[in-house]
């Protein structure tokens, strides 16, 4: 197992290196001048030249990339263009706990809704309960998350008009749960959960139905085991394996997986920082968030693989 982990972590290093190279080259060849864009209406040639020098844009591409890697090795992600002179690490560091908190609770809501609904539908397959569940799931799955978020905001407006005071935007204090914090966090978390639950409900239903048709389930029932034991101990345990893979992959996107929700609800997380930096051509921040996503995805895969090994002993590390 240890050898497997070491191998994967070395692989992670090369993946991150590849991602930095691609991101750097995309930024380098992009038909725009970040310094001119940063200066905007206050452009003057002398200042432009000086700022280009300060940010190292007057160097050849390989030297710029080498400098970038050297800084990265020291965990220095460079300096942001917007806001000026703020270390990229400081910007990202502020956003990570917020995005992780949103994604953490959002994923819990997703699973708490999705898995039971999927099980219920599988057990009531082809009945009106199943049809209703899956129709609702499909509707939410088909609905773009930004529409859902705006719809939730309109619902909050109605609540306020009805005399129930509730905030429309904001996040409160990260990882704090006073009543005021909960008020801020509930709507974005539920939106996150509602947007994602449909996928899990459908996946759980499909995998569980497949397992329920297996011979060993028939055998278990023939042995006279209680239906509860058959479902939860024998069927669900096997049905959950594909779910683990998907959850593992989802972990990789924990930090940046909620672009629309953070933007619409005004949550200052990494996803929103990424969106803003793309609009502002703020390459140091774009590079940093891309590296973060790459690390997240690779680690997520690794976690999924490890969980797979734990849940299904038939799979070997080789």
């Amino acid at each position: 197992m240890m050898q497997f982990l070491i191998k994967r972590l070395i692989g992670l290093l090369f993946i991150v290196l590849g991602v930095t190279f691609i991101t750097f080259m995309l930024g380098y060849f992009a038909p725009s001048d970040p310094i001119k864009e940063m200066m905007g209406e206050h452009f003057d040639y002398q200042t432009w030249q000086q700022l280009r020098h300060v940010y190292g844009f007057d160097l050849p591409w390989y030297q710029q990339y080498f400098n970038f890697l050297t800084r990265l090795a020291r965990f220095d992600l460079g300096t942001s263009f917007h806001p000026q002179q703020r270390a990229v690490w400081d910007i990202i560091k502020d956003g990570v706990p917020i995005s992780v908190e949103l994604a953490f609770w959002g994923t819990i809501v997703t699973l708490l809704l999705g898995v039971p609904v999927g099980i219920w539908s599988a057990l009531k397959a082809n009945t009106w309960v199943d049809t209703l569940n899956m129709s609702a799931a499909l509707t939410l799955y088909a609905l773009p998350v930004f529409i859902l978020a705006v719809f939730v905001q309109i619902l909050i407006l109605w609540l306020n008009n009805a005399g129930i005071s509730w905030p429309v935007i904001g996040w409160g204090t990260p990882w704090q749960y006073s009543w005021s914090d909960i008020q801020y966090k509930l709507a974005p978390i539920l939106t996150y959960g509602a947007a994602g639950y449909a996928y899990y409900a459908r996946l759980t239903r499909t995998t569980l139905l497949e397992v329920l048709r297996q011979d060993y389930i028939r055998t278990a029932r023939a042995k006279g085991l209680r239906e509860r034991v058959v479902i939860y101990r024998h069927a669900l345990r096997n049905a959950i394996i594909p779910l683990i893979t998907v959850i593992g992959l989802l972990l990789g996107l924990l930090v940046t997986g909620s672009f629309f929700i953070e933007t619409i609800f005004g949550i200052p997380g990494v996803a929103r920082i990424t969106v803003n930096s793309v609009f502002e051509r703020n390459y140091p921040v774009i590079q940093a968030t891309t590296i973060l996503i790459a690390i997240g995805v690779v680690l997520g895969n690794l976690i999924a693989d490890v969980l797979y090994l734990l849940v299904d002993p038939r799979i070997k590390t080789e």
Binding site: H42, Q85, I169, G266, P268
Partner: protein
């Protein structure tokens, strides 16, 4: 069954209540309170909540921000002079100032007993330090151009000399400082009122370096408010500064809250999360019927730029034809809305020196254009430029920002008018706003990349120089139109206008100065330097309990305004 029935009845009643409240909230026009100076809410309720659209400040450092015209900068920090709501410049930290007879040296005497927000005395050396700091290469300010009038500006910004202190920033004693300019400029005080000249506390910058604005609760400013806390994820909280030389505010706290996009912020305003919010265009009609709705003409315009170095736009008659073919009233009223003002002016209304008698190109009055004259001018222009027919015209394109939908719609409608009136098909090129700004900079001195484009400008300070010399002056970085720097037969005449503007910039007699600018503006408009489409407006919804909060034409509130702002009961 009975309890269930009661529950149903209660549910029905609550739904009806909710509906009635909703209808009441969304319903017809309400009359704003006419009561003057209503009683103030208790001190613990004097908390103003302001949304920060799009996120954190670009920087809280007054030497770095590009938003230094208003709050929070002008209430945390102060400068020697400040801009009032009517655009006039008055002394702020300075008790008085005088100008030498050659117009090159400005001497300021500071008010007595000035202090920073931590109680440290503020002297003329602090003023010199702050202005000099903005200009040092290490500060990396991209807005230092506001101080470009200072003697040896180029030398200190390029690092040729280490400091301007003792050179063009002369500290005579603790209360007196002289600033020496490279040329006489009547608009200097206007440029000096921008945040790049605000006084900052050296002690804090020495202690924390580039991150000093993260520690402003320890001091650093000298305005009527001081920082209580600042977080890059939640926002900024200000409280009154007990060491301020002037008024003590009625507000006990101002919270700048990091918020979302304009639509979401407006919804948050509606539920009481904020006390004010810009109104999204989609909500304007409804917002206008509610109390607290404010529309203020902005010192900002949108215009179509035309490059004199790009054929056939080097011909004045063809330029005039493009300008007069547009019915601005029709387009603006149908696309933008009635809260903006169609205009022919380069210098917008509200700037001292605004010329109410200005006429459009070829002497045409009004903003509906003159389509018959446009056709006539086009034919004359084609003849002058040696084109036998429209088909011989080189292709013409107009570039616009796709990030501003109403702007894109405006350009599409204008191109349609050009096609209908002049028979010219203009190619539309949509780019991102940031790319458009870059292309504008690249067009200076070149025939491209831009031929025509849809640009915009907002005043840095209320002076005609910021609209005329800045854009059409000789060799300026903003002369993207290549006015006076082209090969057309009108170039010599344009250069004479540039000389006239340069003369106005240094003229000390205000009446003469305004006259020179008015004349130059009329000549530039005749030559279609740019085609103004409209003068913008600031549209806000404000909590009806919020008293005396009214944004000025610069999109800001003067520092003194904050003395009277409070929340009523």
């Amino acid at each position: 069954m009975q309890p269930k029935k009661k529950l149903r009845l209660a549910s029905l009643l609550s739904i009806l209540c909710a509906l009635s409240l909703f209808i009441a909230a969304c319903g017809g026009a309400s009359t704003p309170s006419t009561q003057k100076n209503p009683a103030a809410a208790p001190a613990d309720k004097q908390i103003l909540h302001i949304p920060l659209e799009g996120g954190d400040f670009d920087s809280l450092d007054p030497a770095l921000t590009s938003g230094g015209l208003g709050d929070p900068y002008n209430i945390i920090f102060n400068g020697l002079v400040t801009t009032q709501d009517d655009g006039s410049i008055i002394d702020q930290l300075a008790a008085s100032h005088s100008v030498s007879s050659d117009g090159l040296t400005y001497t300021f005497t500071l008010r007595p007993n000035l202090k920073f927000s931590d109680g440290t005395p503020l002297t003329a050396s602090d003023v010199a330090y702050s202005i000099n700091r903005t200009l040092l290469p290490a500060t990396q300010s991209d807005v230092r151009v506001y101080l470009s009038l200072l003697k040896d500006f180029d030398k200190v910004t390029s690092g040729t000399i280490p400091t301007l202190i003792g050179d063009s920033l002369i500290v005579k004693d603790d209360k007196t400082i002289s600033i020496v300019l490279s040329k006489p400029a009547a608009y200097f005080l206007g440029a000096l009122s921008y945040s790049t000249s605000f006084v900052v506390e050296k002690k804090l910058i020495d202690k924390y370096g580039n991150t000093w604005t993260d520690h402003l609760e320890e001091g650093g400013g000298c305005g009527p408010f001081k920082v209580k806390s600042y977080s890059h994820t939640t926002g900024l909280v200000l409280v009154p500064n007990p060491y301020y030389f002037g008024f003590q505010p009625k507000l006990t706290e101002i919270q700048y809250i990091i918020a979302a996009d304009r639509d979401s912020n407006y919804k948050a305003f509606q539920v009481g999360q904020f006390d004010l919010a810009p109104v999204p265009p989609s909500q304007d009609e409804v917002a206008a019927t509610k109390p607290g709705y404010q529309v203020v003409p902005a010192l900002a315009s949108r215009f179509i730029g035309l490059n004199y170095l790009s054929k056939p736009l080097d011909n004045i008659k063809i330029r005039q034809a493009f300008a007069l073919a547009i019915n601005k009233d029709l387009i603006i009223n149908h696309i933008i809305g009635k809260f903006v003002t169609p205009s022919n002016h380069i210098v917008p209304k509200g700037i001292p020196g605004y010329n109410p008698n200005l006429t459009g190109p070829a002497g045409v009055r009004g903003t509906t254009g003159d389509q018959a004259k446009a056709k006539q001018l086009l034919q004359q222009g084609l003849q002058e430029a040696g084109y036998s027919s429209l088909s011989q015209l080189p292709s013409i394109s107009i570039t616009y920002s796709i990030d501003y939908k109403a702007g894109a719609d405006t350009i599409s409608a204008i191109a349609n008018e050009w096609k209908q009136v002049l028979g010219i098909s203009v190619k539309l090129i949509g780019v991102h706003g940031t790319d458009l700004i870059k292309q504008e900079a690249d067009t200076v001195g070149h025939s491209g990349p831009l031929q025509m484009w849809y640009g915009n400008w907002g005043a840095d300070y209320p002076d005609p120089q910021d609209w005329l010399t800045l854009f059409f002056g000789k060799g300026t970085d903003h002369n993207t139109f290549n006015y006076g720097q082209n090969n057309s037969s009108d170039a010599a005449q344009q250069q004479a206008v540039q000389a006239e503007m340069a003369q106005a910039d240094g003229e000390s007699d205000n009446a003469t100065r305004i006259k020179l600018y008015n004349d130059a503006e009329q000549k530039i408009v005749n030559d279609v330097g740019w085609i103004t489409t409209y003068q913008s407006s600031y549209v806000y919804s404000v909590n009806p309990k919020l008293q005396n909060w009214r944004i000025n034409s610069l999109g800001a509130l003067a520092t003194e305004d904050w003395a009277n702002i409070y929340l009523a009961q």
